[in-house]
């Protein structure tokens, strides 16, 4: 259960951060290429907040060393899959745009 929450935090955290980058925002949102500065910071900050929450949760549950090991391991997995989605199927992430408009 905790690993599920942890994964969710990582997936949403990194996806939001990726959307705050102009290139990936353009890939996901085909209609509006330009990302407003305000939206950029909403994405970026909320992403970082989720990641931070993930780190805190992991350390709280597994202790400092194992917590970091688990968090970094899952972060690597999530970012790797995310980069593949962004390269080949960016429209999978478009639901986040509606959600955040």
């Amino acid at each position: 259960m905790i690993i599920f929450i942890e994964t969710l935090l990582l997936v949403f955290g990194f996806t939001l951060i990726s959307l705050s980058l102009a290139r990936h925002y353009g890939q996901v949102n085909k209609k509006r290429k330009q990302l407003s500065t305000r939206l950029l910071w909403v994405y970026r900050l909320s992403g970082y907040v989720l990641l931070l929450a993930g780190v805190v949760l992991a350390i709280y549950v597994w202790g400092i060393i194992l917590g970091l090991v688990y968090w970094l391991a899952y972060a690597t997995l999530v970012t790797f899959l995310l980069s593949l989605i962004l390269a080949f199927k960016p429209n999978y992430l478009s639901f986040l745009l509606l959600f955040k408009r």
Partner: protein
Amino acid sequence: MKPRFRQAMNWLHTWVGFSFGWLLYFIFITGTVGYFDSEIDRWMKPEIVVENHVVNQNELLAIAEKELQIAAPESPQWYISLPASRTPYVQIQWLQLANEKTNTPRDWHEKFIDIKTKQAKDIRATAGGETLYRMHYNLHYVPKLVGYILTSLATMLMLIALITGIVIHKKIFFEFFTFRPKKGIRSWLDIHNIFSVLPLPFHLMITYSGLLLLMGITMSSVIDFRYGEGRENHRNFYNEAQLDIKTQKFIDLPPETLSLQGVLNDAQTRYKNQKVSYIGLIDQDSSNEHYEIWFDKFEGIHLVSKVAYRVKNDKVEIEISTGKAGSAAEVYDVFEHLHEGLFANIYLRWLYFSFGLLGAAMVATGMILWVKKRQTNVKSQRMTSVISIIERINIGVLVGVPIAIACYFWANRLLPISIINRPDWEVHCFFIAMLVSIAFAVCRSIKKSWSNLLWFTAFIYLLIPLLNAVTTQHNILLSLQSSDWLMLGFDLSMLFFGACFALAAITVKEIKA
């Protein structure tokens, strides 16, 4: 940042990476495979019957003790391993001292106990998963010290390559997730970045801890200075540096009941939430006779070590090791455990494994990039042919190492059981296969050798489950029925890797077309 500085770092990254690229690739792959050394061992010893049910430990120990009495009455060290999740079977191991009369060297021997027939059975002589894993730091054929120095040097250069890589990557955050396919050299650079940046925590950890693990070799002159030269003096250093905190106490167990069973029962009641992985009987019938209990469940990153039982002044004394005395040794321990990943459960173990492969992929794409960049601005005819040779050898190495591993598995099944030095021959097959694939890549045209070798790799990996079914009594269905998860997992993994290589072969064809 000054452009000059970045240029210098770029140069360093390129040539440091290139000079040890093939060795690093070999180290990454064989080391990564080592995360599954027990699982590979089980596959390479098909005679073993797994035991998934709870066994009657007293009966089991009685059988094991009887068999050890028969096999090695004079051995100073007996070990009996109990079923655990990564080794779900019972094994007995003993140390055979060197005997000059019969000309046998000092060596460890092992047999496995079949619980159903209540007998010890021989296991085929095999190099097993351990030899494969050890290759990543002893390089097998060279003398040990040379192997350590070479791998240590490679690790040092790897660390330099990682750090210079971070320095020269201009947009590490902006291109964090970026992969642009089908754009030639741009795509290669993107994928090299993805393989390097995303698992960077793993790469830094594995490289730095790898460097630490061999520090006794690389920093030996420091030890020489304080403790003196030579193996004996160095042993003093290790004993002092790695000193365990030990606490002794007397327990009210009657000394005459001190036996394998008695010790195991006592340890299990004393440490209820830890699982015993093996029991040792050391220096039997001497003044130093004692029993050892080793625990299996690694709660956290600090391995819980052992408990020793001995008779002292007609009382039973237990000695518990609870961590290292020095804080430097504790740090070293954490890095060692992070490197070896022994604490990892099956999920984390697979993650470790995939990150190791990403590391290998990082080196591989780096080598391919080196070739591609040089091809775009060649100056002379001579350079063209030199680069072409390097490109060919590169293909041979990159595909050759996976081929070699598959051949190692094939050799385990196909070499005659009675052949002398069978474990050595398995390893010879490994390196012969690698040399043959390099030779093949050098002779064949570059366009074709990628696809030929990849298809061949896919083929031999896909056939491994079939080979297993034909040469032993194990096959995928039977493993499923008898809940032999390690055997099943190995066969399925081989099918998976075979499929991956087939996919790679198809992709290569598309890129060329």
